[in-house]
Each structure stands twice: as C-alpha cells, then as structure tokens.
Symmetry: D2
Subunit: 408 residues, 4 copies
C-alpha cells in the first residue's frame, strides 16, 4: 500500500449511510483506510465529521477508489480548482471527463465553489467562464460541442448526497430502493395524496408519467379529473397513451373494447388507427379538441386547462399522432425540461417513459412509482431518488382512489 490520499466526509454521515459506504468501498475495491479523525454528532441534529486516509498499492488502484468515495460525497482534503479540458469534437468528451451523479454538485473555479446547474446523472459538467458570474451546468453527451470546457478528474468537485431527514421518515422512505408489498394499500394512497396536496400548497409542480394501462384499466376519467382540478401540472407520456385516451373519448372504447360494458373484446385495432387518422386530419390534439372531436379525457383536460404535455415517440407506436415527438433526442430534451421543473413525479404504469424521466431527475425530487409489476417498481426506485414511495398495485384502482382522496 504505497500510495495514499486524504478525503473528508461531513454531515449526517452515519445515518445517511455514507460512513458505511466509505468503509465498504475501500475494502471492496482492495484498498485500506486509516481514520485520521472522527467526530461524531452527539445528537441527531449535529453533524459528524470524518477524515480518512485511503491507501492503495499504486495510483492505478487508488484512483477508482477515490472516484467512488467522491461520488458518494467525500471530498479531497486539500481543495484545488477543477480541471477543465476542451471537448475535442462535437459529441466527444475529453479523456478523464467527470461523469455526474444525480446529487447536488459544486465545482471549484478560480477558488470559488460554483453550483452545477440542472444536475442529472451520467452527464459531463461544462463551465462557462466567459461573462460574470462563472456558471457550470450539466450537458449530456450529444449536446457537447467542440471546445466546451469540460471538467475532468475528481479534484475541485463537491457532491452532496441528500441526508436522511431528521425524525421519522414517513411514507417517503429515505433511499430505500426496496418495495414493500406488505403495506396497507389504502393508507399508503392516503399518504401519497397528502404529499401531492402539500407539494401543491407549497407552489410546487406535479408531473405525471402515464402509460396506456392507465386508460385500459379504466383510470382515465380519474386522471382527467386530477388534471382538471389542478393536482397535475404536466403529463409525460407516449403516443399510445394519448391515442387510447382520445379513442375513449371518440369511440367509447379502448383497444376496441367498450370501457363500460367490456363487450366486444376483439383484437381489432381499427378505432385506434381511426383516432390517429382523425386527429391527424384535424391537425393535432389541440385542433381536435377545438373542433369538438375530443371532448373529455386526459388530453382534453390538458388542452383546456393549459397543462403542458410531452408525447415521446417509440418504435412500437401506431401512427403516430402529429403531436408525438418522433426523434428520441428531441423528445429527451422535452422530457428533461419537464423533469427539471417537477417537485413531485408520479409514475403510473410506464416503464419506458418513467426511466426516461427518472434519468433526468436530481436525487432530491420526490418520486411516487406505481406499477403492478414489482420488478418495474424496484428498477425505477433504484435509480436513486432520496425520497421515494414504491407501490405495487393496480393503477386502475390507485388513480380513482387517489382522486377521491384529493378532490373528495
């Protein structure tokens, strides 16, 4: 163990799991550590502090350990400025670029700590040092332009993972990541309703990510009500969701089945194609609402109540609708904006769109994820919101019950 470096951890580093993570990272990755100083917070509201010397056999072994510690919230003891390298070409990062976590992050430029704007994971950090003040923000790979000043290495970067809230954690478990199927369903929905009401009361934004199952399962009218009553500020969905929703309004069916009587459960998708064709003829969803073609449902409420919606295209779409953004990069950018504006995200039975939204969220945004498939809920919660509720249940019953709780 011939080389070493000193890192520091500070804050609620015991109950947020950072100390545990620091020790196990070093051991898992073949290093050694020496605790040079440790001051424990005596009470729950006092911070702790740890100065840790990390050893490895050589630089090649030390570097990835430091990187991991760093991403977990440790900082190098002697702060220096961040290293900047110009991007060699469009969509190409310089060697050793710093890849972001989804935690709040600062970079040190000219001796000053500058917060990184629009933090999200797996991005580069670009510093705009022309003009005042110096600004730093994330850029996804395909937005990188030749010459961008990209942060490389781990020096001069400070990551602040969320700390466990003081006191009992309520329904939003801290970094839980797991999913309890053994919780009373109706009580949990009540807690989610309270969180939404609280978010709205504080002037926050609620983003709903919805899959087609919301409509098939009969929850469309309840979601439409939540939009109308102001509990939903934006909707992120796919082409299929919007078509099913409008098919319901135009033909009273979803996938060809009468939603009320469940008659004619034939496979014919004719109404589905007609819906797209008619909306295309009208010139888009807004036009279709205006000419009275669509007169109820989630899309109708979004248009009439001026809620923003993003419909992202995918290769399994029929049509698609004129409103659907078929280019994946363009769609990601639209989703990114929605994600950055959201204070609470409600993910309803939509793996693809929920992953896309989740990729753009900082770890501080509240997330509620509802799906009948436990693997989907686990996968979405694992992406790292610090405050998340996962619920394995039927959206066809979840949304109406939620609407009843909120609208009453």
């Amino acid at each position: 163990m011939s080389t070493s470096e000193v890192v520091e951890l500070e804050g609620h580093i015991i109950d947020s799991g950072l100390m545990e993570r620091a020790f196990t990272v070093v051991m898992d990755m073949g290093g050694e550590f020496e605790v040079e100083e440790f001051r424990v917070g005596k009470h729950s509201d006092e911070a702790s502090y740890c100065r840790l010397r990390v050893f490895a056999a050589d630089e090649a072994g030390l570097h990835p350990i430091l990187h991991e510690l760093h991403q977990s919230g440790a900082t190098l003891a002697a702060p220096t400025d961040a290293t900047l390298q110009p991007a060699p070409a469009d969509r190409v990062v310089p060697d050793g670029f710093y890849s972001t976590t989804n935690h709040p992050t600062d970079v040190r430029v000219d001796g000053e700590w500058v917060p990184v704007g629009n933090i999200e994971m797996d991005c580069a950090v670009v510093v705009e040092d022309e003009g005042e003040p110096t600004r730093a923000r994330t850029k996804v790979l395909n937005a990188i332009e030749a010459g961008d000043h990209v942060v490389t290495g781990d020096a001069g970067i400070r990551v602040k993972p969320p700390e466990r809230p003081r006191g009992s954690s309520g329904p939003f478990g801290f970094m839980r990541g797991g999913v309890s199927a053994e919780r009373p369903s109706e009580s949990t929905i009540r807690r989610v309703a309270e969180s939404i009401a609280e978010t709205k009361a504080e002037g926050g934004d609620v983003l709903v990510v919805a899959g087609p199952a919301v409509i098939h399962s009969g929850a469309g009218p309840a979601l439409a009500e939540l939009v109308r009553e102001g509990y939903v500020d934006a909707v992120s969905a796919g082409n299929g969701f919007a078509v099913h929703d409008m098919e319901r309004s135009m033909y009273g069916t979803s996938l060809g089945m009468d939603v009320e009587t469940m008659e004619h459960p034939r496979k014919g998708h004719k109404h589905h194609i007609y819906t797209i064709s008619q909306v295309a003829r009208a010139g888009g969803i807004e036009a279709a609402v205006e000419e009275g073609l669509v007169d109820e449902g989630v899309m109708y409420e979004c248009v009439t109540n001026d809620r923003e919606f993003v419909l992202a295209g995918s290769i399994r779409d029929d049509g698609p609708l004129p409103d659907t953004i078929t280019d994946a990069v363009e769609a990601q950018n639209a989703i990114r904006e929605q994600a950055h504006d959201a204070d609470l995200v409600l993910m309803l039975s939509s793996l693809l769109h929920s992953v896309a939204v989740g990729n753009c969220l900082p770890s501080t945004t509240r997330v509620v994820c509802v799906d009948i498939n436990p693997a989907t809920v686990t996968q979405l919660l694992d992406r790292g919101s610090a405050q998340a509720v996962g619920m394995v249940t039927d959206v066809g019953m979840f949304v109406p019950t939620l609407a009843e709780e909120l609208v009453r």
Copy 2:
C-alpha cells in the same frame, strides 16, 4: 395404421372446442382419423354429432389416443360396462385404473349409466355395487382400501366436459384460461359482485380462499364485512391468515406494523407469536372470541355468524394455532368438503391454498381468482374451471371495492 376404434362426440362440440381437440389429439399423438359421420347443429341451440374412426399403427399406439379422446368427452361407439378390479392393497390402485378428469362423469354398471359422485381430477372411481342403487364415487389414492372395486380402462365411462353457454359469455369467460390485464378494473369488480349476488340469490354457497396479504394490504375489515353480511359462507385459509387477522384485532398491528399509521415497520414478529400464544391459552379461536380476546376481523365474524372455516397447516407456519389442521391429508379432506359445497369460489392472494381447493373442484364451479402476480392467476385458471374470471390486481383495493358494491 393397422388397428382402429370408433368414438363418438355429441353436443356443442364445435364451439366448446371438442372437435378441434379431437382432431389435434389424433394428429399430435401420431394417429389418423376418418370422419364416418358428421351432423352439424344448424343453429346455436342444436347439438352436433361426430362419429370418428381412429387409426394407429398398433394397440400400444391406439390406446393413449383413445384415452385422451375419452378424457376430452368422446365415448366409445359400442358401450360396454366399465371394467372393475379390486384394489390390491390399501392406497394402491390396480393396473390400468381410470384416472378422473374434473368433468361430470358416468360409469356403466350392469348396463346402467351411474353418475360418479364428488367428481374431482386425478382420482380413482370406486363402484359400490352392494346395496341398491349402485353408486360410484371418486376416491383419492390415499383413501383407497384393499378390495375396493376400482374402474380400470376407458370402456364404460362417459365424460361430459362443460359446453360453452349459449349467447355471449359475459365476464366469466368459457374455458379461457388466460388472463386479461387490459380490462377496466372497476367494471370487472362490478361483474364479480353481480355474480356473487346472483349466487347468493339462487341459494348457492360462496367460498373464500384467502392469503395473509388480504390482511397486510388492509383488506381485512372489508372481508370481515362480507362475512358478516352473508356474502361469504365459508373461509379456507392457512394458519398465517388467521393469526394476522387476530393480531390486527388484538394489537392493531399486522406483522408488527400499525395498520393505520404504518408506523414501526420493524421486523419483530413478537405480536404474531403472542397472538398464537394467547389464543392457545384460551383454548382456540372460538374460545378466544368468547372470552373477548378477539373482537373484530374475519375470524371473529366467522365465529359469531357461524361460518365454517378451515385452517390448513403448512411447514412455514409459526405456532400453529390449536385450530389449524396440521396433518396435510386431514386438511385436504376438510378442504375437499368445502370445495364440494361451493358454488362460487373467490381466491384471494393465496397460491398454496387456492391450488389445494382448485384440485378438489369440478369443472362446473365458478371461480374468481385475484392476485397481483399474473403467473399465479394463470396457474390457477389453468386448472380447468369452465367459468372463471382472473384478475391481476391488488387485493388491498379489490376487496374493499367489492364490499362497497355488494353491501353499499
């Protein structure tokens, strides 16, 4: 193809899928067929008739084909009496014994067709020809006694698979076996409620098979209400279900978690063990209700409203309760009686107990199966009820909604 035999099919053999099955069985199993006569029912209420000669290379090839056709509802053209062989020992069947389907079945004894009592699948048929009139009934292997007159071969046996109901099939799909996740949840529950109400109006019996998730998910009070209000005639469950239900009454917790506030979600099972210990001290569930130890919940309502319950033990049980039948064979016999009495069975989040009940049901009993895991629903419906509804949903929301529909 040097050997052949003639079989007959009669009834609604086209739309119930029997003709299709007959042709594919012969081809799948390497035989050939010749249709000697075919009369099609001209209208939906007229029976069809088919006389089919089946060929195979030799007797060894022909026999399994005939057996399969027979189990599907074909009968040998020239009826003879069933062959009877004495069981060589207790729990041992004679060579070539006839293994039952779950369809209504007759055996021919002394030229008369005798219905087989208590039909269920994978049993032997035992004929009691002493006394008048001759009787036949199923016996499971472990009930076979030395000397029992057991039916062997396929001759002299008539299987009557259920026919597709005339007209549209409603929510109870005929022999569907599949599970539609794309149906509106609340409408489906409404249909189930109507079926239960109808069954009760006709004087039928409703059996509920319930797993512990019913209690964990908060649906206990709703199920208790259904018992109290007379919509549930019998409950089939395990030791765990009863303990969780009574723990809720005695301590207000389920698995140590407060059911309303969801506080203290610790792993401690202490209340669980206490519940068993206290009920054991009282002398059993009925005694615990009588001494006021248990004063609400499903078990409470069963005791006070005189609904029969069977608690079948399993190797994962704590305790168990004094009321739990720990011997599997004894428990199966108790379940068998419940199953034979039931006209509609509601299976709620319980794979083990639902399979055990399903094993004892004739194909004519209505079955509603609710589970959050689609594989469980598929497995249960595949066991062959002709009228079955499968629903992939959350019992924590299903049961309260059902109770609201029924009790209002």
Copy 3:
C-alpha cells in the same frame, strides 16, 4: 334478427380453430347463425367446408360480426370487387378503411384476386392499379399519401389464416400463445437449434432481436460466435445493446463491472459514456471496427461479416451512437425491412424491440421468444405468429447452450 349475410369457411377449419371461432364470434357479438352447408374433411389431409348464414338485429349489429368473421378467415359468399376510396390527405385514411390482420391476404380487383404485398397487421391496403399487373400492398398510417387508393369495407378481401400443420406439431406449437414453464430447458434449446439449422439449410434468413441483458448476462461472446458462423443474418437492437457490447470489447466491462471477475460492481457508467464518445469520435461503428477500437463482440462480427444491423433509438438512451436511428418512424421502416426478410426471428430479452419487430411480421414467420419474465414471453407470443416457441429462461445460459448445439 331481421338481416343476414352468408359467409364461407374452407380448409382445415376444424383443427385450426376457425369453426370454433366463427361460432363463438357470432354468439359473443349477439348474433345468430344457421349452418346452410357443412362438409367435413374425412381424413386429416382433406379440407372441410362450411357455408354459414349469419343473422343480426340490424345492419349496425351485423357489420362488426361479419368483420370479425372475415378477419378470422371467412369470405363473403358472393365475391365482389374490393371497394377503393382515395385517401383524403396525407396520413389520413378514408372512412371505413380496411385494417389488416397479419395473415396472408388477397384483394379482388377487376374480378381478379391480387395478393397483398408485405402483409402486417393494423395497416391499410393500397391498390396500385396503374400499370400492369395490378398490385396491392400494406401501408402504415403515416405512409398514406393523399389520393392513395385505399381498400374500405370487408368485401372483396380474402384472409387466409395459417392452418395447423398436418401431423404432430413439434416444438413450434401452432397458435399456442401460451408458455410452458414445465418443459425441459436443454431439450427445448436443442429443438430451437434444429429449427435454426433447418432455416439456414433452406436458404432462409435468421433475424436476432437482442436486448442489453444478453451482454450483461455474459452471453455476448456466444451471440458473436453465432453471427460469425453464419447462423445470424441480421441483428435488430437498441443503442444500449450496441454500447454494452462495444464497452465489453473496449474496456472489458459491462455497466462498469468486469465481466469475468465481477469486480467493481459500482454504479459508475463512465465506461458506457466513454464508449459512445470514442465511437462518435471515430465516426461510427464501422469506422471504430476499422481503426481497431472495437475488436470483438456482436457489433464487430456484424461489421466484419457484413451482417446488417439496425439500431433503433429510444428515449432512455445515453448518447446515442452515430449509428442509432433516433427518429422512431425512420427506425420502424428499417425494422420493417428486416422483419419482412426474416424467416425465423429469435427474440432475446428485449420487450420494446421485439414488439416493434413483431408488429411487422406476418403470421407465417417462425418466432422464438426467450425471456426470464413470463409476462414478456406471453405478450410477444400473443401477437400472433402461427408457429412460435416461447421459453422462460436465462439468456445468459440460453445463448451459450444454443451456440454449442449449433457450432459444436
């Protein structure tokens, strides 16, 4: 029942389930039928024939019944020419347009039956009657151009659902749609290997649809071998699959974890982003192979052995790679060509891409679907290939075993 129409069914209509379907469609949809003539095929290689008069209360009731019967393979007794209507605008179908099944289909133009080219489901049929000979082909909604001669109604259209193969059906169950988890895994793979070998021996094309799990689970080298040895003619995948595959070649990791030693299972996606960045710098996958950046793996073998690959973008992609088609409509068109060329499609752990490919397949293409999630396998098989094998297993073991069987 004041209105009626006569339809005909012909072929192996009993064992392919068409007769059953015809009867149940009429009853489910509230109609009545009268069998005017029925001739049964006496042996397994003789066709049957049924002339059926269908009654309904009125035209509005009769029409959907006839449509369903028609889509199932019935034809109107008195053939007339197909009705053609001009498309009113780009991407807009005329009222009453005919929405295709995935079965082989003919349309009648000027008294002649013309086969519909490139059949796939949920499309319109466009007739090009200028020039000789008259041609008909499917068009998806977004390809419709104003003035296209689009077939409307059901008249003059003949759908030919696949018939059950004569004899026993082997591993490729006919229209089975279900998934047996109770089959011996290694024997099933042996059958799949035989089918692939057979397809290649007959000069057919094998298309592999692959998800990222193929690489994570360690099956990359085996799939690369199948490409190199000529058992795979084309690959359909997403951006993630290609990046993981090349990350493995460039860094020996997948998602940052060493594939052999499983060390450093950290969440860092840095290698992932680097891979995209480097390939972008090189100018694309082919260039990256040529400059030696990528020197093994599935993409490498595709490039060096000249196998076509399509990488379709999605909103959850990092990057993406320059080769990834980010526009969903453009990507669908590329997938459509792959699908039409394929004689056997092997779907490996990829729901999104498998659905997209499956949407473009006629019902006559052989499909093998492998996924660890039974719901995925069921969903994919339900899309209607007549010859399909579903296997619920681990691709990490499936692909190496398959390669061993084929390459030996």
Copy 4:
C-alpha cells in the same frame, strides 16, 4: 424526553451498518440519542465502540426502541442476569417473552454468559439451569412446556449480528438482500461451485432444497450426479419433487411428458398417481429402490449413497408417498435438524420449502437461492442470511452447469 437508557455497540459497527441502523431506529421510532462515547477503529481490522444514551418521552416509548436496538446488536450498558419466567401452560409463553433473532445470541445466567443453542428466529429462549453446566436453547412456540424457564425482557441478552467480512466480499454479498439480475450467469455459477467445493473441503455439509421444477426442467440427472459425487449431503423437498423424480425413473416421463422427446404433453397425471401407488405397494422409497422399481434419479442416489432426505407434505400433494411426513409440525422438526446441520444451503425453485428451511437457519449459514422468479429470490434473501447469493435464472440450466463445474 424524560426517560433514558444507555446501550453499547461494539465491533465493525460502521461497515456492518449497525451504527446507521442504531441512529435510524431511534429517529424512526420517535426517540432521541446522545453519543456519550465513540471510538472509531482506525483501520479495517480494528473494532469501533459506541456508547449511546437513548431518550424517549416515557417508558412505553423507550421500551420498543431499546428492543429494536437490542435485536440489532446493542447491549444494555450495565449487564444484569436475564429474567426468567415459567411458561404458564404448554404452547403458551409468559408475558414479555424474548423473541429471538437469527443471530448468535448469549443469555446471562448467574453472572455468566451462556450461548443460546440452535439459534433461529421468532423463538423463545429456554434456560435449563438444573444440572451442570447451565444451558440455554431456542424453543418454538409449540415446543414450550408448562414450567419451562423462558427468558423475558431484553436484559441479560447479547445478540451478535454477523460482521461484514474484512476485505472485498466476493460473490457472497454481505447482508445484501437484493438480487442482481445484471450479473453474468456463467461466472456466478462458477463462484457458487467454488463455494460448494470449499464447504466440502472444510468438511461442511451442503443441503439442497429442491422444488418439482428441478425435475420438469430436465435438471434431475445433474442433481442426481451431485448427490452421487458427494457434493450434496442432504435433500429437503416435498412429496411432488420425489414423485416427479421417481416417475422419471419408472416411466421416463414427468407430468406425463416424455422428458427427452417432449412428446405427449397431455395433462394426464396417470403416471404420477401410478408412481405413488407402486412405491406405496413396495413399502416406501427405500424399498422401491431395493426391489429395483426405481433405478436412477435423485431419490435413488440418496438411498444408495445414504444421504438423508426429508419429504415434507403439503395440502396440494397427490398421494402422498409413505415417506412423506404429512404432519406440518413433525415435518418442521425434521427440517429444523437438516437446517441446523447445514453449512451451505442451495435453494432450487422451491418457495414453500425454502421458506421453511430459511426460517430455521442462523444468519451465519451461507445461502444460495436460485429461482426464475425475482420476487421469490428477493423474499428468500430478505430472511436474513449474512452471506447470500441470489440468482434469477433457470434451474434447468443452472444445475447441469453447476454439476459440470464441480464434477467435470
């Protein structure tokens, strides 16, 4: 916060997560804490020490917090003897009885720490103080006899949760509880094989818990080989597993399907019933092997190589076999002995039996859990082995690959 108590934690309390757990337990349960002393282990091989004063509003609030801390490994600072109360009746515990964890535990009797024998969770601790030396052991509720000296309260009890092994943790993740589906399948199996070989080399015992899917999926011969070659010391299974295994030997089928050719996949369970009947006639499995009725397979190898097997009955069994223990309590006792003897447990596609075995295991036993259903793997690992590997894969491919690795 008017009442308080002092507890101590000692050992690798940071990286084993105990410090984090202690802080969060106090906060989650509404208490407060003051760290009176904290000494951190400077290097990875030095223990840490924490003395913590815990406050609550009253005794009723303090008690459950202390209980939770205690179960997590904290000890009351001033040790006293454990409190003993006589059990009031058979199968009844005294008020306030101490319910065990699955961690190694000591109780203090007459000033001496006595280890608790046969530790498993949710049991009572009974002290046998007559005779020398004093002994303590767990008793499940139904084994409690009137007058047993049962430990109550938390005082005088010391729980020692396993500590994270020093150095990198290898394939056996420490208290991971999660399941990575993103690991290379074949490498993981190689690690499992190494663990089994290591366990055998150290003279340890390997227990296999196997479900019927092992046989259906074609893995029977590979498991039989592992038994024969001495890699499996004991088998814990159900009636169904044994019947399917012997049906394969006697008839070459499993559930009526030929295991090699997969022909005749009919539903007939006749061979299944015959197998039970014939083995019953012979007088049991050992007799059936001796008379040559069964001449290969897992049960055959167990009998001829003198490996102990336990067949536990359940309410879904056919038969059952004479060897099957039908009483759940008796079966649990047999399973308990197997579990206590095992050093490594391999759970193969058997939820019910794996839960039953897992319930009896101390947290120090190595566990490998293999199932195609991720929810099953998660549920089994959550029961709390400190060293566990979960693998979501197909047993039909896992067991043969494992056998190849071990036997070569």
